[in-house]
Subunit: 546 residues, 2 copies
């Protein structure tokens, strides 16, 4: 890397550092002590009952436990009093060893982690073991957790005493305001909604906002439980929501600068994620769609904030991403998922966690979508659009590349007979392929967009979305195609089913038909407050529910 | 309790508080990394080999572990650096969960605690589980531990990285000076010692001093690992050693005031132990011999320090203990172990952990020994000796009580034919019974003392001592009876065998023939640095080895 490049990156990181927000705190007391039991009617399998609204447990001995319910999700710290209740005249004569489990949802505090079988590290499990030597003590758990429930399990005291947990307090943290945006009013909503639907939509809105807030720390974290990192795909959605809900532009700006300052390689390819602590660090992977979506994120930011200076500062970072992928298009401008990018780097395409999804048409569409954002940015910022070598031709102007890619997409992936976009030699129909085609403006008419989305949504063979991230883009495409009714129906169905499952924040992964499914192989590895699930609030406002 | 009594106790606690020492610190680096293996020749079953004198571990993955050897025992805190060593380009992408085990001896770090079977709480086990989120980090373990070895076991990282432990530092704590007393010289020693014996005695002396130092915190703790409390029986021996080794009188004074300020009941019966934290608290039990030995501890203190004022301030506390036990003597002045004390309190007699020991003659002798201390104190302080009701007679002068009890002891427990003191209807011969008889001055001649001790020491049926506490009093009695050779032989044999087993500090319980025996049912519940084992240094100086 040249000296000049290094200086430029260092400057980007300085800007990011200067924008690091001071976190706001809020002290929360528990609603009370709950008892839990298995429940066949509950989709996650458990229900809780408040047995005491005191902030104090009964005396716990042996292997006894108590669960406090803080009545909602937060990201933050826990502190509590621990008292020794002596059985006779002897004071507490040994330390107390205590396991504390932080639950985003009931399953976290109702189920053992012993048979954890996810392929990601068990060190993400939200439990800690502490030892208390002196009683009474006020204990402050130094690590941050994401939780609604806190379970205290006595691992050992002595035969001489039991313990009582008293006055647990959560210090909630966020860089967002604590004040929620105005609740949905439906005053200007075009369409019929039942009272129950309105109630559900208000709840969905409120849970979206909580999800967003709890992920807004000193960066937009993907999830405050795990992995607490800044990912471009999540950032794009969170930032959009934060502009809308909190008029917060600086956190997005900070995050854009962090990515710009921490490229994946010397040529400026962006990382899929960056690490914030202990010092900002580049992530170890790059995702094709994520690095392209940086341009969209920058465009969103410039349009929302009006901050042209940042736009110009970061334009080259955004614009250069396509350099790494232009050669993935063959001479017929068909996107080759298996092609090797620059420097023999194996290309990774995300789109969704769905393992069955064939991603060529979606990735092709994402390229168009992002190139359009670069073009719009160049116009907005009054800078020259970049030119690329593509399809065997060198130094092509961006406008004509976009036009050619749109044309090629229609040619390669549109199944005119069925009125839907398909992928692979299997001609697979999927939400992903059609949502992104519509968002990229590939269909020639609104009717074509609507038809493609309807087929993809209704065909029983269609590959559906696994992540809320893709569910968002499906709804985004519905709205783009004028299918507001479908968007609303899908929000009610999908995010509504999370609410019915007890969500106080929206989950990283959710399949209402398989509530325990996990992309990691174990429910306990999932995050239950996740950035890319926070968008219904934004979608509902775009649907006129504000 | 009367207002006046309460005021008096509060004043005692104020004096104790004013004497709370500031702890001295010393920063210790490890000698290196050790590897351990089972060893049939080692009495504790393990041996260690230094494999690297670096202060850094290799990269640990999976369930790997590293053991650092700090080259000696200390009480204190641990801090260390933890670095993540990434396997590829991805930084550490998950927290690290780490188990840290603090070993006083190799067994602590070589053996699993999983099948712990002691009847005292497993919360005393010297291990902790921590989670580290950011790398590199300097970790400070806030709890105090007692250790020579530190084992770090990776419980989980992620597949992306391993960890390295670097620069572990122990902050050792004590209220004693770090400077050892002058080593043994043997210049004025009367007798023959081989070079090996001198080497062993010097080592015993040094280990005694370390044991004492590591127990000297803001009170004389019985053991810094467990239970970290102040017990009268331990205090008496520690204080004597601290006067001799460190000319420290204030810590003993503080401890004497703590006991005086925290009586077991309103009548002023003393607790066997007191708790120092979080605020001084009375212990939940009283031991007959311990409460009586308070007077001896006070006498030792006054004689060593010359502090008559404290002597007078605490004289009544010491002198009144016998009021609770005088009625335990029947009309023939035979001590009844099963008699009930004041307020129907079940009397507990300690003497030793040995379960087979019948304690009547030892307890009887301890009463005499302690009453003599009260008498000597009254003379030294020029205060009136107390009078007691005993043997059905009221208001007896102390001198005559002592005389009568000595006479009764001889009558009830001396087996003239065998030349030894015996206990119970079984006429049990024991170290305890004879050592205390000699220390109480019961035998009529030096020859009788010597004979009794020799029989008790040599008779194969004799009940031997289990705790180093009783081993001390046996040696004390040998010296008292002019059997210096036996005392020295016994120190070499008993404390020497601990050294041979690898002791860097002397153990709470030790039987060279059963190295894994424990009064608690599991070796891992034992303390391996224990106050009542620290006396050889004092005994050796009394034997003329200084």
């Amino acid at each position: 890397m040249t000296q000049a490049s290094e200086t430029r990156l260092a400057k980007f990181l300085q800007v990011a550092e200067s924008l690091k927000p001071k976190l706001r705190t809020r002290l929360d007391k528990p609603v009370g002590v709950v008892e839990v039991e298995q429940c066949l009617q509950a989709s996650m399998g458990w229900k809780a009952r408040v047995v005491s609204d005191d902030s104090v447990s009964k005396t716990l001995v042996g292997k006894e436990q108590v669960i406090f319910d803080f009545g909602g999700h937060r990201t933050g710290h826990l502190s509590f009093d621990i008292e020794a209740i002596k059985h006779g005249i002897e004071p507490a004569d040994a330390p107390c060893r205590l396991k504390i489990v932080f639950g985003e949802i009931l399953n976290d505090v109702c189920e053992s982690f012993e048979n954890y079988s996810a392929w990601i590290s068990p060190s993400w499990l939200p439990d800690e073991i502490i030892n208390v030597d002196d009683f009474p003590s006020r204990v402050h758990i130094p690590r941050r957790h994401a939780f609604r429930y806190v379970k205290f399990c006595v691992m050992s005291t002595s035969s001489r005493y039991g313990i009582r947990i008293k006055d647990p307090v959560a210090t909630a943290l966020t860089s967002a305001p604590w004040q929620d945006p105005a609740p949905l009013s439906f005053e200007h909503f075009q369409g019929d909604l039942t009272a129950d639907q309105k109630t559900m939509l208000r709840k969905i809105d409120q849970v979206s906002i909580t999800t967003l807030r709890d992920c807004m720390q000193t960066v937009f974290e993907d999830g405050p439980r795990r992995d607490r990192r800044l990912w471009i795909g999540d950032l794009r959605l969170q930032a959009l929501c934060a502009y809308d809900a909190f008029q917060d532009f600086d956190l997005a700006k900070r995050c854009l600068y962090l990515f710009a300052g921490l490229p994946f390689n010397d040529q400026g390819l962006l990382c899929a994620c960056v690490y914030e602590k202990p010092v900002p660090l580049a992530g170890g992977n790059s995702l094709v769609d994520y690095s392209m979506l940086y341009a969209v994120t920058l465009l969103d930011y410039v349009k929302a904030s009006g901050d042209m200076e940042t736009g110009r500062d970061l334009f080259d970072t955004a614009a250069r991403q396509f350099r790494f992928y232009a050669s993935n298009f063959d001479e017929e401008l068909r996107y080759d998922l298996k092609s090797e990018g620059v420097d023999g780097l194996r290309l990774v395409h995300f789109v969704d966690w769905q393992p069955k999804l064939i991603k060529d048409n979606a990735e092709h569409a994402i390229m168009i979508y992002c190139l359009k954002a670069i073009l719009e940015l160049s116009q907005l910022l009054q800078v020259n659009p970049p030119r690329f070598d593509i399809g065997g031709k060198i130094d092509q102007p961006l406008e004509s590349i976009i036009e050619s890619l749109v044309h090629a997409h229609r040619m390669h992936y549109y199944h005119a007979q069925r009125g839907v976009f398909v992928s692979g030699i299997e001609r697979q129909i999927s939400w992903a392929g059609n949502a992104w085609a519509v968002l990229a403006g590939v269909p020639e008419t609104v009717e074509q967009s609507q038809e493609a989305l309807r087929v993809a949504y209704e065909d029983p063979e269609s590959i559906v979305g696994m992540t809320p991230y893709l569910h968002h883009y499906l709804c985004d495409a519905f709205i783009e195609a004028g299918l507001q009714d479908l968007a609303l129906r899908h929000i009610l169905k999908y995010w509504g089913s999370m609410i019915e499952a007890g969500a106080e924040t929206f989950f990283e992964a959710w399949n209402p038909d398989e509530p325990r499914s996990s992309p990691y192989g174990d429910l306990h590895a999932n995050s239950f407050c996740h950035a890319w699930s926070c968008t219904p609030s934004l979608l509902l406002r775009r649907l006129g529910c504000a």
